[in-house]
Amino acid sequence: MELLIKEIIGKYNYWLYIILMMIGLYAIIAKNNLIKKLVGMNIFQTAIILFYISIGYKKGGTLPIIEIPHGHHTISPESIDISKYINPLPHVLMLTAIVVSVATFGVALAIALKIYKEYNTLEEDEIRMRLRGK
């Protein structure tokens, strides 16, 4: 029982991010409205970001910003306790990923605007019907 709870506490984060990701994926595939799909896309991306951040987390760790003791200008590498600081690499990667997702979001919105201009609707099936009718 103890073990099970430990396992759950240790892993729930990953499970929930999977659930989140699947919500996003479902929205991308199943939703009919293009903007809704876009939202699903964003959720999907953030879920992955969440996963990365979870990788980097260390229990009891502090922010990946080195605390320089008062009165010092610098700190020698030997005196830094590695396990104290959270792994910074996933953060860096995810900054990039967020930026990418924002950029994609912007472009997608622009394209959605163009679509609306052409078809006067954002529903996928209506657009398809219009295309087929032509």
Partner: protein, 81 residues
């Protein structure tokens, strides 16, 4: 102890996500999506990723939602799902 915070925010995030994709009004989606961004930001702050949280705060709260609303303003609020 600490994980309870994390868990609760995670739950909120999931609720927000489900809400955002089920509401039958795109403006509502946009607004809830903003809330989703807040939650994500909090989650990352909890996990110590301050830079990521900062980015999400500025992007999610400041820009993304505005783009979203602007796009809806220029298109339509109507949605069937």
């Amino acid at each position: 102890m600490y994980w309870i915070l994390d868990l609760m925010i995670l739950t909120l995030v999931i609720v927000c996500a489900i809400g955002a994709i089920t509401i039958k009004d795109l403006l509502g989606t946009a607004i809830l999506f903003g809330a989703y961004s807040f939650m994500m930001c909090l989650l990352w702050a909890i996990m110590g990723a301050v830079d990521v949280a900062f980015t999400e705060a500025s992007v999610g709260a400041g820009v993304s939602t505005v783009f979203f609303v602007a796009a809806i303003f220029r298109t339509t609020r109507r949605t069937r799902d």
